[in-house]
């Protein structure tokens, strides 16, 4: 078990973070070059004011028509996205591990709050699953990979919750927790989860074209 633990918490963590950050850089740079070649007008139309205006309207619940039409989904996705970022980054256990390795640390959440946020993420994933299975249009558009992706997103949170509460097998589950999070980080740039960083560019461009060129709103 120690050999696996060492491997998963050491070399594999490096690989995951390199793929994550390297993948983000690669995607951004390659897309920027492609746009320059094929759609140079993207650069001409781009307007920071209109981009941010549109991004803000699409980020907050009820600030766009689309969001007002789906109130429950809007609230769930908003909470989900906040928790999925804040809980891991401000979790004591993660910060102390980073502090032990690199001697840097920052503010952390009380464990109880992180625990609730984890439950909210798991609850949201169940909601997304049920939505995919039951809502005809979404069901029609879903393929097997969508379900796998959803499971990959949920896995680090389920295993983290499991390990924290020390349910049976928590040593093995701690290893699975690190492993599943590493898989998730590594695939984010190369799957549709890359909306994590591409959202700001797609939305920003839409906002620019609609706002600065067509003088219309896009929310």
């Amino acid at each position: 078990m120690h050999a696996i633990y060492n491997f998963v918490s050491g070399p594999l963590a490096w690989v995951a973070f390199i793929l994550f950050f390297g993948g983000i850089l690669y995607q951004l740079i390659s897309r920027a070059i492609m746009a320059k070649k094929k759609d140079a007008f993207i650069y001409e139309y781009w307007s920071f004011y209109h981009a941010f205006r549109s991004i803000l309207h699409w980020i907050f619940p009820f600030a766009s028509t689309n969001s007002r039409n789906r109130p429950v989904l809007s609230v769930v996705t908003f909470i989900f996205h906040i928790c999925i970022f804040v809980a891991p980054i401000f979790l004591f256990a993660h910060i102390t591990l980073i502090n032990e390795a690199f001697n840097v640390s920052w503010w952390f959440l009380p464990d109880g709050v992180a625990d609730i946020m984890t439950l909210l993420v798991i609850g949201a994933c169940i909601f997304f699953l049920i939505r995919r299975l039951t809502q005809p249009d979404v069901k029609f558009l879903s393929n097997a990979w969508d379900y796998v992706l959803l499971a990959l997103v949920a896995a680090p949170f389920v295993t983290g919750y499991w390990a924290y509460h020390q349910w049976p097998g928590n040593q093995l589950v701690t290893i699975l927790h690190m492993l599943s999070a590493e898989i998730l980080l590594a695939i984010i740039p190369f799957t549709k989860l890359n909306h994590m960083f591409l959202f700001f560019f797609t939305r920003g461009y839409m906002g620019s074209e609609f706002g600065a060129v067509r003088f219309a709103r896009d929310w």
Binding site: Y5, F92, I95, N99, E100, D111, A163, Q171, T174
Partner: protein
Amino acid sequence: MRKNILFIGVLLGVLSLAAFSAYSQEDIEFVEDSAFTDNMRPLPAFKHDEHNEMAGLECNECHHVYDDDGNLVEDESSEDQECSECHGAEGDEYPMELVRRYHLNCRGCHLSEKAGPVACGECHAKAP
């Protein structure tokens, strides 16, 4: 009469010695540094004497003393001090540095020796 007083005196002495040594031999079962006032996790189990015998550790592996140049002083021990007295637990800020030292000391050795607990829940185990 004098004999009786002597006897009682000796008896009292033996009793208090027994009581004292029973007290001082009270085995350490957990690490409970006084710098952590509001523990977030269950106390880590640590059967001091048993652990150190089993792992064959010198006292100053943990209760170390360093000279001014930062070199370990071989045959001195700081067993009369808590780790927190030397490792960053001043002021009102959370003693992150102290947690770091404990983890590097305990977990660090377990990782490199490939023996002993390494996952959070193995050391900070809830009482069954």
